[in-house]
Symmetry: C2
Subunit: 326 residues, 2 copies
């Protein structure tokens, strides 16, 4: 019964938030820890903005805009419209309610609270019961080297320039000096299951894995006989459900396939979840040493999130059951 | 004709903004410079907030909330409500449109623009044609020593604690090292008329006068035969129209009267404008070496602002005319 299994989910933005929400609907809150990428955090107008963390928390809290997946439902845009009127940069979509989050986060960080402490307090206020951990309390910044514009901060590439420049490579500034957030390594060690949510491997999952010790701990769990580590493919039929992932693969000279995602995670996973349209790739995934699960991975409705989470958990139970027979 | 007179107005918040607006309706924009107190500027949530500057600019731009005098008309409060829900301080009334101003001001200051430059750009965007100068580009902070709570930052005293603590004295941190904003001294030197708007002497007008050189330049103009320096009393019938001024005088052991205001400005003024309810104080004002003008000084409507501005300008013309006869 997955009720008693301890689960860690690694998540980026919208896709990650959706599966985390499915898991949160299914599991007792004390058994779910969501570790969220903070590599695309940045400072804007002097405020500290954590896009993925906010997307995950708003989604788990039921506050997210159901149309966009990011931002708040019932949002107003009066502050950023006034910024634009004053000639300031309006490209980052700062809603008024959302601004409240950034204001209070910035205030608390300036008072000396850590990002983990701030996140815990916000989750309490929003009645989010699962544990949500930023990947690190230290600032890590994703930079993107592009053909046309040189190095760009991730949010500038992603939002200001609509992912249009061609990408050469990524760099994570501050990653080597960063520590995993308090409790992160322990959560992975204690977990029966680690789920890589359907997020962008380059800019959402890798920054978490690249923190000191994290990749090693996940790899060890993949090889253990007492842990299941599975990823859900963010590529379906050669397309990313959201974001620039398919375009990124192409620019980096890699065909955008579920298999390409699995290859990025080689050595880290005991199972891999592909969409039914990619069924013909199941064998290639199996050849990478991962059990494949083929199912409908597209999460259009809240019901889809829960169904996919159930299938992922049942898949992990099977993997754990087989391990116990060895 | 006051059309050709060069006018400098010293202003704090709501009362100052109203008379400045009256003068702006009357004078060619190139002949009006409004110098605004920035001693009650502060940092909140990491943003730089300039309450008096914003009140003056919003009022001159026709963007001010007509009910409160401060803040924006048609304002929404979604950001600060979300801050409160997260347990943060909601005491400073940060409207969403108003936040846009603070965000863009903070961004520009962090880029290295001066507060004067930012203010000039904002006035252009808001179509404010008179010159509006912050008193200084350097940070000066008004602190208030109270009986009950010790030293408080001015906005904490004024807004968070509703001016309730009893005041012992004021301190302006950074004032001695601060420079008057570029063009401020020149504007006073070239002015035919300097008007002290009906603002709080302690926390709005004195911080401007206490900047290096400013008091001397105003005093010299008061003694010249080619300049009129006049103040409009912020005290009417022993009461302040707005704010804690009457209470302040009492706590400092001074009866709250128009005469008390005139005494604070002794040596700086050639004329002083009292409300008709204070007519009996005209003689005492005259004894301080200032010509008194008794009129209706309460500005309830936009028409009142213009009428009072006209009376003040006519008064200054009389003073200048008499000087030229000497």
């Amino acid at each position: 019964m997955h009720d008693s299994m301890k689960v860690v989910a690694l998540a980026g933005g919208v896709g990650g938030a959706k599966l985390a929400h499915g898991l949160a609907q299914l599991l007792p809150p004390e058994n779910l820890t969501v570790i969220v990428n903070t590599g695309d955090d940045f400072e804007h107008f002097g405020l500290r903005i954590s896009p993925d963390l906010d997307t995950v928390c708003y989604t788990l809290a039921g506050l997210a805009n159901p149309d966009t997946g990011w931002g708040r439902s019932g949002e107003s845009w009066n502050a950023i419209e006034n910024v634009s009127r004053l000639g300031g940069p309006g490209w980052f979509h700062l809603g008024d309610q959302d601004l409240g989050t950034h204001l209070e986060r910035t205030r608390r960080l300036q008072m000396g609270q850590s990002l983990s402490e701030v996140t815990r307090a916000f989750c309490q206020a929003w009645n989010v019961q699962a544990a949500v951990l930023p990947m690190s309390d230290d600032q890590v910044m994703t930079w993107v080297e592009t053909e046309e514009m040189g190095w760009l901060q991730f949010q500038s590439y992603f939002v200001e320039h609509h992912c249009e420049p061609r990408v050469r490579r990524f760099a994570m500034k501050g990653l080597e000096q960063a520590h995993p957030a308090p409790g992160l390594i322990e959560a992975i060690e204690k977990a029966d299951v680690v789920v890589f949510c359907p997020s962008n491997p380059w800019v959402s999952i890798n920054p978490i894995l690249d923190l000191p010790q994290v990749r090693d701990h996940v790899a060890r769990k993949a090889k253990q006989s007492s842990g299941a580590t599975v990823a859900v493919s963010p590529i379906i039929g050669g397309q990313a459900v959201k974001g620039p992932l398919a375009k990124l693969y192409q620019e980096l000279g890699i065909p955008p396939t579920a298999t390409a995602v699995a290859e990025q995670y080689e050595g880290l996973l005991s199972g891999f979840v592909l969409d039914q349209v990619d069924e013909n790739q199941a064998e290639r995934v199996a050849a990478l040493g991962m059990q494949p699960l083929v199912t409908d991975t597209l999460m259009k409705s809240a019901g889809d999130r829960r169904r996919l989470a159930e299938e992922v958990m049942a898949f992990c139970e099977r993997i754990l059951g087989e391990q116990s027979l060895l």
